[in-house]
C-alpha cells in the first residue's frame, strides 16, 4: 500500500507538513510555510531540501497504483 496525501487548493505547506508528520510520514514540499501545497510549487518544478533523496516535487504527485488510502486534509 502506498501512503498518499491529498491537499486541496489553499492548504499551505506548514499545515501540510504537520499533518503528514502526525501520520509518521514525510513529504517532498516547499520551504516557505505559506506556499500552497496544491498548485504552483510543483508546477514550477518542486524544489525541496529533501529532493536529493526523494526526487523533486514533480515526480511525487504521480500515484502509480490504485490501491492506496488517501487522507484528505
Amino acid at each position: 500500500m502506498t501512503s498518499v496525501f491529498t491537499f486541496g487548493a489553499g492548504v499551505q505547506w506548514f499545515d501540510a507538513y504537520e499533518a503528514v508528520q502526525q501520520h509518521n510520514r514525510i513529504i517532498v514540499g516547499a520551504a516557505s510555510e505559506s506556499v500552497g501545497a496544491a498548485g504552483g510549487w510543483f508546477a514550477g518544478g518542486g524544489h525541496s531540501a529533501i529532493a536529493p533523496n526523494y526526487g523533486l516535487g514533480t515526480p511525487n504527485p504521480s500515484v502509480g497504483t490504485k490501491s492506496y488510502s488517501p487522507v484528505v486534509l
Partner: protein, 186 residues
Amino acid sequence: MTADGNHVIANPYSNQDLFWALRGGGGGTWGVVTSVTYKTHPSTPFSSASIFVNSTNANSTQNLLTEIIRLTPSLVEQGYGGYGGGSTEQIQLFVISPNVTAEQTQATFLPLFEFAASQPGLSVENSTTVYQDFWTWYRSLFTNSGDQVGITAEISSWLLPKDTIETDKPEDLAAELLKISGVFGY
C-alpha cells in the same frame, strides 16, 4: 479545472499529456489545480548543518562562497539538500540529509567551518544538529506566524549540472553569483 470549464483528473492513467505538462510547466499555465495527491515516505531522522556569515571583506565572502560551491557536488551525493544564498555582505547555508550520522556531518562540514573562521572580516555562526524528524527541523526554521509574505523582486533560476561545477572553476561561479544585485539564492 481546464480553460473550457471541465474539472478533470490528471494522472498516469487519464489525461497523461496534461499530467506531464503540469509537473514543471508553470503555475496556472494549463488550468487551475484544485487538489493534488502526493506520495509520502516513512519518517526518519535528519542531520543538519548550517552556517551564517556576516562579512566586511568582499574577497573573504567570495572565497567562502567558492568553497561552498566546491563542496556542493559531494553534499548532494551524501543526500544533503537545503537553502542558501546571500550577497557580498552575508552568506548563509542550511542543509539536511536523512542518510548520515552526526559524526559524518561534523566531519563533512568541519573543513568549511574552519575555512570560514580563517578568513579575515567574517563573523561566523555554524552548527551541526540531528533532528528526530523533518517536522522538528522545519519548525526550528519556519513559523506559521502569518507575517506578510512575498517580496517585490525579479527572479530567475538555473539548474546547475554537477559537470558544470566540477568542470568550470567554482571561483568563477562564485564571482558571477556575487555580481547579482540584491540577494542571490543557491
